[in-house]
Amino acid sequence: MSVETFVTDKAGLHKFYEAVMASRETYAPVEKFGKFDFKRVTRLTECDPESPIATTQSIKPLFFPRSAKVMKYLATSAGTEVSEVDEDPLAVKRVILGAKHCDARSLQVLDKVYNWDYIDTDYQKRRENTVIISTRCDQAGTHCFCTSLDYDVENLDAMDVVIVNGADGKIYIKARTPKGENFLTELNTEYRILNIESQMSEEDKYGEMKKQYESFTGSFRLKMDYKEVNAKLSKIFDTPEFENVSGNCVSCNTCAFVCPTCHCFKISDEKVKDTGVRYKSYDSCNNGYFTLMAGGHNPRPVKYRRWRQRAMHKFVYYKERFGENLCVGCGKCTIACPVNISIFEVVNQVSSAAMQE
């Protein structure tokens, strides 16, 4: 049986948050120097699930850590012993509060690459054990363009439980996935005392949520025609425009670091005397050495080729391979970029230059 949409006010929402935090290990945006990032929290006063701006980094590190141990080994003259790493601290049952829709959505995109062919079981376990509960944005940020991409932003299944600030001033809390349903069913229901709308039908509640969606989509500064951009990019591998858009890049890789969908990694060993650890850490196609082969051959020795890979992988290749766009339009990379390169501008500028050629 599905859990009824819970309609409440600010006080009820806070009660709900508290009930959630009491039930499981919780991660939520925590403010520091005016910026927000996801941290482990135990009380509502420590964090802001309704953070006015998106977190600097996405929820990616909670599923794909910046640097994770893959294995340990002991290599002596008597022989080599390889051992598994300790239990995965991220695979506990937990809740993430306050992940914006783009963040939650990025996991649906990443599921594709992690679940094809070889299954990344660590990722999968973390994913299964995590319930995402968040409020849909009311207002687009300066660099947001999620609604321009090719998925139904109205479909909120990326979040297990969604909270919507209705146009009528009421707050709607609804489970969107079976995982969210189960979570709400098991949750202590004391918070439901603050139900302010016991008569309203599910359809009417949905109607109110939809109205909020319409005002939200009207608030975007950035808009593009995704299909057109995708189609053009897929035809213009050799355009010199990539040199123009990448000229300022300092190859710092910050964009990949904050990107919720960038998933390239490198494998490295650290060994002291006889014992060693193998790590899997973030890497980026913007790194000059990313494709540098032993012997010196490098197919992408210059910036524009690396930027071309970045833009094309996001807007063409991944779509071709996995049916999803590898950019969720969150704008995190643009905000973090020290030289103001915007992926939105890059793909638009390159594809419109292609039109003129």
Binding site: V82, D117, F265, G276, M293, G296, Y317, R321
Partner: protein, 270 residues
């Protein structure tokens, strides 16, 4: 999986073949691979590298990786990895040469330098199933006679009357009595291959592959009959880390073996 280095063969001043056996008993039988596939080879402490398997599963009990000194890990291997040492192996990964399609065909192998390693796996496989194939030609070139791999095995191939072996080096040397010249030139002037019913399998340095394919196309070979194996920076081998992407292709999963027809459909990055 841990392997013990059974034997080290110094092929050339900078190429060594490591003959590996699994430490765990019975593992070798479970390690089933086909010519063209590769493994991730760990020198614990230095790192992991991608190498093709240079031998055929038809030769039982071991497998070979031929490693040229080129980067950090390979330099460490040449410096310190000796018989009796242990290494980590993950694999086998990737696709393999289209064995079924090769049956009943004339085979022309064209290798350059260390590029003979992946071909050697297929050559051994085909020699061990010699009756399945028609004419069998191996063209192998290296910069110098010193730079040729598998010298003893090449002698065996030369002694095998059912194979035609053509060797060449780039520059004349005093003791060298056979062909001199780059591979595409020898291909056109000396080998003069039959085009009908022939499959060409080539691997070598990128520049050699490029000009060899040009020559083959000029001679009249169809793109689908030219098969090569790509070298690309890889790390995970599992279609995850993103390093080996060419367009939407994962070289580690969809390759490394491609026909020229397939290569032409990829973005021209290389």
């Amino acid at each position: 999986m841990l392997c013990k280095v059974d034997k080290v063969i110094q092929e050339t001043p900078d190429i060594r073949t490591y003959r590996l056996k699994f430490r765990e008993e019975g593992m070798m039988e479970k390690f089933t691979y086909l010519p063209g596939q590769f493994v991730e080879f760990s020198l614990l402490g230095s790192g992991e590298c991608t190498f093709c398997i240079a031998s055929s599963a038809t030769r039982l009990g071991y497998f070979d990786c031929s490693i040229k000194k080129a980067g950090v890990v390979t330099a460490d291997m040449h410096l310190s990895l000796e018989e009796g040492d242990e290494v980590g192996i993950r694999g086998p990964f990737g696709n393999w040469f289209p064995l079924e399609e090769l049956k009943g065909k004339n085979l022309l192998f064209i290798g350059g330098g260390i590029g003979l390693a992946p071909l050697r796996s297929l050559i051994q496989y085909c020699i061990d199933n010699r009756n399945d194939y028609k004419d069998f030609t191996i063209l192998y070139g290296a910069r110098t006679s010193d730079g040729m791999c598998y010298k003893d095995e090449i002698r065996e191939w030369q002694d095998n009357k059912s194979l035609k072996v053509v060797l060449t080096i780039d520059q004349p040397e005093e003791t060298w009595t056979t062909n001199v010249g780059v591979v595409p030139k020898i291909l056109e002037e000396v080998v003069m291959p039959v085009i009908e019913n022939t499959k060409v399998i080539t691997c070598g340095p990128p520049i050699m592959i490029k000009y060899t394919i040009q020559s083959l196309v000029k001679l009249g070979f169809a793109d689908k009959d030219i098969i090569t194996t790509l070298e690309m920076k890889m790390q995970c081998g599992l279609g995850k880390c993103g390093r080996c992407n060419i367009g939407s292709t994962y070289v580690c999963k969809d390759g490394p073996v491609f026909t020229n027809e397939q290569l032409k459909s990829l973005p021209d990055e290389f």
